[in-house]
């Protein structure tokens, strides 16, 4: 049975899922879907950068750290250099403080440890002031 979830106060939020793993892509896509957030999926940091270079933009990026071709740290730095100012939340299984700091320093607005859950995603949205209002 599906849980009743709070509605977003801000309508038509969009997000980009950046992860090379199909299991995580599927779960993150569904989590965002469930909260009414339209979202696209790309497989690595380079595809995230290319998406923005082609003119696409999003309210939120869920950025994995370990990815081939271009990892999350490199992609976050590159997006910030390009002037992309949207909210970027790092999501990774790596909990090492030093690695977390390196990821944050690349330009993240928030960080959550995988696996993501509904409550962790809501926490990200609240931390990033993308507002949740209970119905």
């Amino acid at each position: 049975m599906a849980e009743k979830l709070p509605k977003l106060a801000k309508a038509n939020l969009t997000a980009l899922v950046v992860d090379d793993n199909s299991v995580n892509q599927s779960i993150h896509h569904k989590l965002l879907d469930r909260l009414g957030i339209q979202n696209d999926i790309v497989c690595n940091g380079k595809e995230a950068v290319d998406a923005h270079s082609s003119g696409r933009n999003y309210d939120l990026i869920l950025m994995d750290m370990d990815m081939p071709i271009m990892n999350g740290i490199q992609a976050t730095k590159r997006l910030r250099e390009m002037g992309i100012s949207c909210k970027i939340a790092g999501v990774t299984t790596r909990a090492d403080e030093e690695e977390k700091k390196e990821f944050m320093d690349a330009g993240l607005n928030d960080f959550q440890e995988k696996p993501l859950t509904i409550s962790k995603l809501i926490s990200i949205l609240q931390n990033l002031e993308l507002y949740i209002v209970k119905t």
């Binding site: 599906a2 793993n21 299991v23 370990d66």
Partner: protein, 149 residues
């Protein structure tokens, strides 16, 4: 009868350590729009298992010239996806395998990889049985009960 069986079987999978809370989180995402969500995600997971275990086995076959970096990155990925679906035992074995890989313990890696292979196949069978029980309930016109662990 089927509902009772389903409840008991679900509880046993948690109590025996096959599944953890993350599987419960996946169930929360299943709804009328995506009634097969959990089955689809675990199917992706088992595809991951097959591919990554095969990569690691091939790397370990190169005795004397094992690419431990490749084994390490493959087990890191497998640990990630097993964690994401709540496959508790598989995840635990991945942690052990990563430790063997980091210390370049060849025998340990081979032994552990065999256990990972056995464990994911065991979980696959058990989840298939669980999904079959769900189907029986639905086909009999019933609703799948929520099971509190």
């Amino acid at each position: 009868m089927e509902k009772r069986q389903f409840r008991d079987y679900t509880i046993s999978l948690y109590h025996q350590g096959f599944l953890d809370d993350q599987f419960t989180e996946l169930k929360k995402l299943q709804d009328e729009c995506s009634p097969d969500f959990v089955a689809e995600v675990v199917s992706l997971f088992f595809e991951d298992c097959e591919k990554l275990i095969s990569n690691m086995a091939r790397a370990l076959d190169q005795t004397g010239n094992v690419d431990y970096k490749l084994v390490g990155s493959s087990v890191h990925q497998l640990k990630g996806s097993s964690s994401s679906v709540g496959a508790k035992r598989v995840k635990g074995l991945c942690v052990t395998l990563k430790e063997c890989c980091d210390s370049q313990n060849y025998e340990g890696c081979v032994r552990c990889l065999q256990q990972v292979d056995i464990e994911y196949k065991s979980l696959k069978g058990k989840l298939q049985d669980l999904f079959n029980l769900e189907q029986q309930i639905v086909q009999a016109g019933g609703r799948i009960p929520q099971v509190d662990i």
